[in-house]
Symmetry: C2
Subunit: 313 residues, 2 copies
């Protein structure tokens, strides 16, 4: 069963509560869920990371694992256009290894402090392998959903994706011709200030965790629109030359690398054309939104093969 079908079944099981209909603003199926206790909005998102699936202890030390896990979770809150405040951290560790746990905690704290947030609880248990679960809570005046892209909107990236896949490819091959991209795969450091700027102006937004093609399809389907990416606009991105060069050295196709690289934790978002001059001060237009072919993502007019990073197998 594919993840999407399974989530559909889970949505049927986890029925909405009539009592909470007014308070729930965003339920299952976005970067984070959002509810409104009183007048404020609270976003919450949880990630589970397991050894061998999300990280490899021969590649990453414990502190690095903690940093990456925190970044991935914080990105979900920024992707709702909200600010992360509090986090819960849980872990299960085989043959309970306190040293490893404390190093993971230090890595998490390093990233949490960078955004001025705070870990306020969690749970610890022994268990098979190492599993890390992080839940974050964000607050804000509005939330940016996946489902509000409008025909006529522009489509933007800030940083050009690709480095994570280029780093992973080197790790898989046991080579290290570009340490910067290897390090980026292990710790995808984010420009949160730019992520926040995108959140202030975006009509729809998603955190790139599974790749532009896959995550863009989420926006297209949730909004009932078509996302059209133009390769020429990607070529004009200042990061394109180094990404293309390294892809070529590793035997990868540049555009495919850019559009399928996961765990990038940079925003893909849409914005009104009336905001173009403002948005172009910190982001790069890579295409637009149309009303035809709703639910599709196209590259130069042809359907984009949706391949990406899938943690679910």
């Amino acid at each position: 069963m594919r993840e999407r079908e399974l989530i559909t079944l889970l949505r049927e099981i986890f029925k909405p509560s009539d009592r909470l209909a007014n308070e729930l603003r965003v339920g299952i199926g976005d970067d984070a869920a959002v509810f409104a206790p009183g007048k404020s909005l609270v976003a919450t998102s949880t990630d589970v990371l397991t050894e061998g699936v999300h990280f490899n202890r021969t590649w990453s030390d414990a502190k690095t694992i903690g940093r990456k896990a925190a970044i991935a979770n914080l990105a979900d809150i920024f992707a709702m256009g909200m600010r992360p405040n509090f986090l819960l951290v849980s872990a299960t560790i085989e043959n309970f290894d306190d040293g490893t746990l404390l190093e993971i905690a230090q890595g998490i704290q390093l990233e949490v402090e960078r955004v001025g947030a705070q870990v306020i609880g969690g749970d610890l248990s022994s268990g098979q392998g190492l599993t890390l679960s992080i839940t974050s809570f964000g607050e804000g005046d509005r939330s940016v959903r996946r489902s509000d892209a409008k025909p006529g909107d522009d489509l933007y990236l800030t940083r050009l994706p690709g480095r994570s896949l280029l780093g992973l490819t080197q790790l898989n091959k046991g080579i290290r011709i570009n340490p910067e991209s290897v390090n980026f795969h292990l710790i995808p450091e984010c420009d949160w200030a730019t992520f926040e700027k995108a959140g202030e102006i975006a009509t729809a937004m998603i955190d790139i965790s599974d790749g532009v093609a896959k995550d863009g399809l989420e926006i297209a389907q949730a909004s009932g629109v078509c996302l059209e990416i133009e390769s020429e606009l990607l070529f004009e991105h200042p990061d394109f030359p180094p990404v293309a060069k390294l892809a070529s050295e590793l035997g990868l196709e540049a555009l495919e690398t850019i559009l399928s690289s996961g765990e990038e934790h940079t925003p893909l978002f849409t914005a009104s054309p009336s905001d173009r001059s403002l948005v172009e001060s910190f982001a790069h237009r890579v295409g637009g939104v149309t009303g035809d072919r709703a639910g599709e993502i196209l590259l130069d007019g042809a359907p984009l093969k949706v391949e990406g990073f899938d943690h679910f197998s």
Copy 2:
């Protein structure tokens, strides 16, 4: 390293954020953390359950595992005197088994619906063994902490603990002389209405997950008081005769069973003596709070051996 020491170290790593000092009401170390977005209070608590530690698939079907996990998590919110509204559910499953996952979800939903709450998100991953992680969010006008018991308060139980340990003992021995307690160990069904009543009046409260002795010590230490339990008051509890009889049949000592049985998910709480007649309409006084011997829990004046269920090993 004991869990307590480890949590102390984690508290040092996970530093408070100055920015959030006004908003955070209860941090690490209570049943749930509480923050205040706007004017309302939000409680949040997370539990991780792993196969072989918290449940045993030869004893429990998947739906039962889901029910028990949900109950344990909801109890943490009720133990703050607050009402659970929303939940996040995450799971890692080896050789991803969709059927098992959906049955777990159905079990969770059954318990979630009972309290009028709603699952609003989560995360799925493959991983070693089965790990389930549930985070719940509660709301309320005030939160009841562990740390506010005052000398002179009364100490109360609602239901008498014991059945969970009696059920577990039968499961471990491969016998089933009392199916009701076996079922209770597998699905510790709660009287949430009574839990809520306790929350409205308690000065300090804890969910009994590790046993009265261990959880009572948490109140004693957090409040800087001594909890004094009187065995005569326990003997007068209407549930005492059946619990004592079954304990004897299983070769267990009755008082030890009552005071060490974990996963009970019933409140242990303190209340002002001025509320005694009101509280005694739904709860049983089992002792009191004194200012001497702060941080201790006594049974008939003697230090209580603190043994209990420990998920952390």
